[in-house]
Point group: D2
Chain length 295, copies 4
């Protein structure tokens, strides 16, 4: 009997590349976690064990380090564009490369009211900036920027009422609740030319935060829509934006047995289960394949 | 300016349902982590904040618990089929439901040479059995069984040689190496009728293990192909099988500086980076959309 | 044969207490993870199964929530002092209570240049503020403040040379290296009266950061000593300070095979193994028992 | 002002040593995570930055690998005894060494009814075997064996009733409940001579499991006592045993709103908060210092 090789890809995941720019005494740091992979005609490697067209994952790792030096890291996106191009050149059998970069943020330690030249403290920890670049041979590269672990909370300005009720429904309406989530967002760019990637990333992130803060929420779904619409409205270079938002439930603790009132002041932050809301906002309707589908 | 809601889904993730069958003194346990979600026409919830068609994630959680009692858990697959059907019934606006179940295995504690009636020890920990059921309204449900965290290693019978060499290649040929991975596998069934899900799962898992053990490996890619082909060969109810295999690198430690030989006996098990190989084996070529694509 | 019950304690771990102060429209948030435990004469509970003197862990949890409302959370330390006292009162068989609090920091989302009234973003994620209060019946409570996951790095101003060399030594001297760690620090207070806990915590943390930045490091050990001495010098209310510092190794990548120089610019950040340095700095020599020993 | 260096230690944590014995075609595997540290007079390293007496953590790592080859790994305990002795010899300034070993278990893949020669599957994942050896210069080494992540559950044979009630108590008596925990146990040996460490470990573990199964439990405390007493009774080489047992709460789900009875059949497995019970059982009363205290 004979079978067929379906979709496949391979690469090196989580190469931890840290770059220090030390041209002057005031050092700059970029701290990356880089994952690369290739797709293409690798049937021989699978079916016959023939590795002659395989650019090894070890070589992909070496290239990730070498390109950090050779082209530098002006931004995760620019670095990923260059690295992805190199991988395609190096592996003729590949039809597409994928470079995913996570960036961890550092800020200068304050000493005597000023940021120190070469000492840094990790800002955030859960929040990570992300970038994915998909490159084919004859197409425009697709660049998707994003963040993950952006934990936000609003202590009022959120309700959840009027939902469908049926046999298994016990939830009560909540007129005023805490809304919290650990946001993952990814936005696809219409172009890759001439963008200041760092500035653009900060601006989109800030638009999301401001929309989260200032929109009254009748559901997490509505909040995602508000954030997505605000981003598309304000940032022409964004084609579409995708959210994944686990609802970090904060339950009001019943203190009545102890003779205490609790008008939305003391909450239990629960772990599991949690609501999980996922949505995308686009400029116009189109199929997802070819866009986020391959990510 | 007006925008469009793209793909979206929502549900309750990670409801930890534990079931004890206690009809007799010899109890049976099924320990599940259940995630459900719905897709469909939920534009009003996003754009207008109208929740009247939303089956809340809290209700989905209640239903997961109630169905564990009502229909029981004869297998993760059977339970997920029933639960997914109920969710579609309860939410008229939904066009599809998705139920994902992770199962943690327990075995009886041995006392005096026999398994104890009501005391269990968790078997495995990293290895988890998985099942995903996707249901639409007018289509056959799609059932994908699988496992994740199946950690396997072979201490010989594996090489990696003859690969592409270019400017950034430093890796040397390895004629005899340790091959280890933490395997994730998912297999889609051609039918959902009449299958003994527990027996079928054990059989596919064993086919994978045996193929891993007995196939000489010239690359992890070839090993995945061998496992996939063996499964399709032996199990007619499997339409296709998908693997994700992080290469858990074991590097031979250089003990020469200490006057010690090390002919493949002492290894350093590395964390990151790691090779990541993903491949699918199918009965015949077809597009992935409509199959694993929506998972 | 008869045996003896040795040291024991019990309690409720990781109660996730979130408090919102909403007296005005400008809300304040304190987000805590609270673990309590009791020691004392609980032999009957162990040996005879007699629970009549056991303040259940469920009650401890209830008390943690109720006290968040009743006395509020002006600081983790003040809250822990009150909660620990209550637990001793409620459990006559207990001789000592222990309350451990982890606090997660949130900062206001900036909207239009000002911090929003009721919307917050999680600051840090890895960094957690800690407080432990040990209370006996006839002794001063012991208060230990601290932090964990404070990740710092300096890109120069650090060497490691002149170390002991013997048969198994292969490490080369490093004249200029990256020094990075995820710092855990705990400092014991000489007094619990009249301290502004929040201000004191910020000040000690800043002293550590400044000492890390401005001290030339000939080993991580020396850096810990420098931080500890600086804290004792500047903060009279600190009796002693304890550090645990995993060395987050940053290895210079060898780019010579690719014709590239790498003068301390591109590093591989390694996971495991890692050096782990632990040290305490005290005002004068004394036994550890009775101080950190019971933590 | 001058301060004093308090307790301190340093070493290399989490060296991942994997050993393959390949004398015959039937390979044997030992998979270890090794952490070593030294205590002693290292004041100069801290206060003056003088590293001349410091056996570097890198050398400790090298020694861990070299000793895996040189003396082999007949058991974690035997390996740790040898490695700890070597570290003391290599570092004259050290007064004590500590070697901690975690061992991950592998079992042979079954092929055609027999265990395969060189292919293994990881058994367990959460459960880890542990060994700690503390060595001073003129004292007997202290050997503590143990396990962590041993997850056990009994579905009946457990109650929790008759506990102390006061103002903040809301918990109801439970006459028949699920009792589950992820057990950490550590037992100190009276001697290090002539013991078959592997067999002894398996025997103590089995005694714990059997006691857990067959003892009716009126509290987790009583269960720990029962396990500890059984171990001391059956194993003369064990001086004392220490347990840490997080209560993995299984809450009966209220299905009454859905017209369903739930007589202890469907449970919600909760994450946090959790009861945490810690106790030690000894042959006779003695101070903890000098025993587990330094671990």
């Amino acid at each position: 009997m004979s079978f067929v090789l379906g979709p496949n890809r391979y690469g090196k995941a989580e190469t931890r590349v840290v770059c220090v720019r030390r041209d002057t005494d005031r050092h700059e740091v970029r701290d990356l976690n880089v994952s690369t992979s290739l797709r293409g005609d690798f049937t021989a490697a699978h079916v016959e064990g023939d590795q002659s067209h395989v650019l090894t994952t070890d070589t992909q790792k070496n290239t990730a380090f070498a390109y950090a030096k050779k082209v530098g890291v002006s931004s995760p996106e620019a670095y990923a564009l260059a690295l992805g191009e190199r991988l395609l050149t190096a592996a003729p059998a590949a039809t597409a490369s994928r470079v995913q970069v996570e960036e961890y943020a550092w800020e200068r330690v304050e000493v005597g009211g000023a940021g120190h030249d070469h000492t840094f403290v990790r800002r955030g920890g859960e929040e990570v900036r992300t970038a994915v670049v998909l490159r084919g041979r004859d197409t425009q590269p697709m660049v998707v920027s994003g963040c993950t672990g952006l934990v936000v909370m609003k202590t009022t300005g959120s309700q959840f009422t009027g939902f469908l009720r049926e046999d298994y429904t016990t939830l009560q309406d909540a007129e005023d609740r805490v809304l919290a989530t650990s946001l993952t967002a990814r936005w696809r760019h219409t172009t890759t030319d001439g963008l200041d990637w760092d500035a653009a990333h900060a601006a989109v992130r800030q638009t999301c935060l401001a929309a989260f803060a200032t929109t009254y929420s009748r559901a997490l779904q509505e909040t995602l829509w508000a954030m997505g619409s605000a981003v598309l409205e304000a940032h022409q270079h964004v084609a579409e934006i995708d959210f994944s938002a686990p609802n970090r439930h904060h339950f009001v603790v019943d203190l009545a047995p102890f003779g205490l009132d609790n008008p939305g002041e003391v909450f239990h932050a629960a772990d599991r289960p949690y609501g999980l809301i996922e949505a995308r906002v686009q400029r116009e309707a189109h199929e997802c394949t070819g866009h986020f589908g391959e990510l």
